[in-house]
Amino acid sequence: MSQPSMSEALRGVIRRDLLLAMRRRSDVAMSVFFVVIVASLFPLGVGPEPAVLKVIASGVLWVTALLACLLSLGRLFTADYLDGVLEQMLLIPQPLAVLVVGKVFAHWVISGLPVVLLSPLLGLQFGLTGDSLGVLTLSLLLGTPTLSMIGAIGAALTLGLRGSGLLVALLVLPLFIPVLIFGASAVTNSLAGIGSEANLSLLGACFLLSLAFAPWATAVALRIALD
């Protein structure tokens, strides 16, 4: 029997999850529409004053991205848990953390990447231009993978519990705060003409930190959930 390499298993998980997402396109479309609609509600509520919209833009778009990530966390492990695939994954002769990285990456491609790609358009809607649009997109590109990583811990911890949706929110939203602060202030600083490099670097640091710890913590939580 040939032992598969870790990267092969990683690719296998990513391919599988993306294939499943392709079969359930409505799920993906829903999180995209959610972002667009929520972001469009704010100008309607606050009023079309460009100066005001520009000020709230980064906060609104970041909170929207955060909520979109939160909404899709339920899909991360629950289906696999219910049909027994997760059980089989735990028995695969590869470190579970590697498989978790694969699943989280696929989750980000499905729920985070569309937000990143849409953000320039949504930013325009709020009157952001030029540099600040670029910073917004870059900050989301650096920040949304961290949200998926942290979210995975919460999703794994609440797996199989009743009312887990609300519990996930209570668990992970506080952990999202640093990412939200650095992400939103990157855009605010760029609007104010101050450099946003520091905030972007901090977002990068957050991502690396979550990449180092979150898969491992998620793997432990999954083992507990299936015990």
């Binding site: 029997m1 040939s2 032992q3 598969p4 092969e8 298993a9 296998g12 998980v13 391919r15 599988r16 294939l19 499943l20 079969r23 359930r24 289906a79 219910l82 049909d83 027994g84 695939v85 059980e87 089989q88 994954m89 735990l90 028995l91 695969i92 002769p93 590869q94 470190p95 498989l99 299936l226 015990d227």
Partner: protein
């Protein structure tokens, strides 16, 4: 050789079984029997390493499976109470993904052959598993055994929702595995048509 030493397990507050010591030699089958709720599934999940025993140990070739971890996982194939297949994917996709992750040969031909061996013709290979019947889904899950080259098989109620044809396919496959000095642990309610000298029974009682 596969051994449990004074194994005790519980779910929540409830003691399921205690001091179970049993040895499975190559080429033999262990049938785990007992009433509903006697802890057969928990026992099998414990043997997989999914559940932790309260006391006692599970030894693979004399080493504790908790130390072996992935080395032990590489020795076993588990077909659980749940089928572990995705409804959205076709039987072929399900098995290919599984084989790829588990490190078995996942070439198209081998997967096709496995599906044909459990009596699933080509007409269902490309359908989403969602539209298949319970028995057909079970067959897809069991088809994993046809390309598994691992020595230890842990099967939880493998005959559930299988018809007589599929039951005989599976029995033959188990027999072939035993002839190959494989080891099988089955939780089941029915008798398995393999020579009695190869079978030992373990009755779980509360």
């Amino acid at each position: 050789m596969f051994q449990t030493v004074a194994l005790s397990g519980s779910r929540g507050e409830r003691q399921l079984f205690s001091d179970v010591s049993v040895t499975v030699k190559p080429g033999t089958l262990l049938a785990v029997v007992g009433e509903n709720g006697s802890g057969k599934t928990s026992f099998l999940r414990m043997l997989c390493g999914l559940l932790y025993p309260d006391r006692g140990a599970i030894l693979w070739q004399g080493k504790d499976i908790r130390q072996l971890k992935e080395l032990y996982s590489a020795q076993l194939t588990y077909v659980g109470h749940l089928n572990g297949i995705k409804d959205e994917l076709t039987p072929v996709e399900n098995l290919t993904v599984y084989a790829c992750l588990a490190g078995d040969d996942s070439s198209g031909e081998i997967v096709q052959k496995a599906l044909e061996a459990v009596g699933l013709g080509r007409q269902v290979h490309r359908l989403p598993t969602r539209v298949l019947s319970q028995g057909q889904k079970r067959r897809v899950a069991l088809a994993r055994l046809w390309f598994s080259s691992r020595p230890l098989w842990l099967l939880d109620e493998p005959f559930a929702s299988l018809d007589t044809t599929a039951t005989s396919y599976l029995t033959n496959r188990l027999q072939a595995h035993l002839n190959n000095s494989g080891m099988v642990v089955v939780a089941t309610h029915q008798d398995i048509a393999v020579p009695a000298e190869l079978v030992q029974h373990l009755r779980l009682t509360r």
